[in-house]
């Protein structure tokens, strides 16, 4: 090699410094990317809203008349908190599909071959889901208000209740991100999330009180996170029943899910 061609060699690009700045910047950049991708797939945005809307209409107008829950003269007041938490869980499950999609299409490889902060990739995924979830929950509340749902408490407890539901949804997106990393395939991710979410949503106080369930089912329903988050949200939005126990249980479940899932997902992501 002669000197002329050495002079042509590209100059060494600067090495990107690691740290918090890179993490924050990359998280924002990638969250924006994730949100743009969903916004530009309008069928996804609509699909995410259609199912909960159908559930609201179905239970408000078809089944609602024959469901009686003690303490609630208006079934819709009982129903909407359940729908909100159901939405939170289903909303989080889109993380599984998105993570699997990025893995199988090579986007994750590209991001990881760049000096991207590794922690930012999954964080951005779950943050984008939180934004989407907030939109869907706002939509559910609006639809609820249209079909007769009312808040019966002060603003602060109402907002705390909604925050608890969103926090639960956020924790679940980490769980589903982990699932997406494990299955790595969009179709499998879709089926698996359905299998995981279905019993959690229906063996719960989502649509009716757990009191009429057989003993074994009721034991499961009362212990699992969805019932606790719904009960907390109901207590805080309706001002009925004891709030302290379900709130504590809901926070404990969500924090636990978040820490365990985020730890395993981050570890798994490093190896994937």
């Amino acid at each position: 090699m002669n000197t002329a061609s050495i002079a042509l060699l590209p100059t060494r690009p600067p090495i990107r410094p690691p740290g918090l700045r890179a993490f924050v910047s990359d998280t924002l950049v990638l969250t924006r990317r994730n949100l743009l991708l969903s916004l530009r797939t309008p069928q996804l945005v609509v699909a995410a809203a259609i199912m909960p809307v159908m559930f609201v209409l179905l239970f408000r107008y078809v089944f609602g008349g024959s469901i009686h829950v003690s303490g609630y003269s208006n079934y819709v007041d009982y129903l909407i908190p359940g729908i909100i938490v159901q939405t939170s869980l289903f909303g989080g499950s889109s993380s599984a599909v998105a993570v699997a999609e990025d893995l199988s299409k090579g986007a994750t490889d590209r991001f990881r071959s760049l000096p991207t902060h590794r922690g930012a990739i999954l964080t951005a995924r779950t943050l984008a889901d939180l934004v989407r979830l907030t939109y869907t929950v706002a939509l559910m509340i609006s639809i609820g208000l249209l079909v007769g749902f009312r808040f019966h408490n002060a603003v602060l407890p109402i907002l705390s209740g909604i925050s608890i539901a969103l926090f639960f949804g956020y924790a679940c997106s980490w769980l589903f991100a982990l699932l997406g990393l494990l299955v790595r395939n969009v179709e499998t991710a879709t089926v698996t999330t359905f299998v995981v979410t279905f019993p959690l949503v229906f063996a719960a106080s989502t649509f009716t009180s757990t009191q009429t369930m057989p003993h074994w089912l009721r034991t499961f329903a009362d212990a699992q996170p969805v019932t606790n988050v719904i009960d907390a949200l109901r207590a805080l939005t309706q001002g009925k029943g004891p709030a302290q126990r379900p709130v504590l249980y809901a926070l404990a479940w969500s924090t636990g899910i978040l820490i365990v899932s985020a730890t395993f997902a981050t570890r798994r992501f490093r190896e994937a």
Partner: protein, 332 residues
Amino acid sequence: MTTTSPIITVEGVEKSFGSTRALAGVDLAVEPGTVLGLLGRNGAGKTTLVRILATLLAPDAGRVRVAGADVVRQARVVRSLIGFAGQFAAVDETLTGRENLELVGRLYGLGRSKARGRADESLERLSLTDAADRRVGTYSGGMRRRLDLGASLVGRPVVLIMDEPTTGLDPRTRIELWTFIEELVREGTTLLLTTQYLEEADRLADRIAVIERGRVIAAGSPDELKQRIGGDVLEVRATSSGDVERLVGLLNGLGSGPPMADLRGQRVTLPTSERVQTLLAAARRIENYGIAVDDLSVRRPSLDDVFLSLTRQTPTQPSADFQPSQPQGAAS
């Protein structure tokens, strides 16, 4: 010639997935500003090696350094120095071409306006400026690959790593992409590319490493590799595929090496150092045995011949593309 130290060094790299040994001790060195073509069939271990170089996989054993930085311990440094284009065009379909490249720039830590400048620069070099604001979903396959290549250029990498850059492209688009790659190399970028196409390696690479079952079984310049086969190649194309095996037996012993069958192309090739004698001897035998042939010629060896003669020496599973077959009745 001044001696330069290699910009990529691969030493004793091993990698297994479960019980499958993908890399069984690979050594390579790439000089700055040159192109190394990593040639091998599907499953030979090319992609595994490339993923290790791109810091996406850690080797089980051995060391890999890019511009002096270790891909495991200094992965961050390596990521700032390399551009990586994987096997799939990893661009987001619902984003525009420009948005895709800006995203990459931002992930190099560039500010918004700088990332935009780099994106424009990349788009222009790859002749995508006109399509810059269209969503990638509307791009053709060739445009996507170009954009993918553009994305790997945004960081102005010292080393470019491409995994089968032209697989699945039509011939015209392939040649177009080769021209872009050659231009980059002229400017001094070091390139390591994997390919299944000998023609591609022949055209782009300064040096070729043939990889088979996780090992480098041969390395050298395309010419050096062709010389390995020793002189010229006699090629016979049979009229009927049923005669291919017979031709192999017939030609055995006439050349400087054993004849090789390409069943799909109904061809038998034979290395020779005495072109005229071999041609005449082959013609006589074919006539004596009354085998109908469409073509009989002597030509310079292609990399295909090299590849076939190299890979037939290691026991392999039959592949769809190359099926080196042992001559029947070799001793007769």
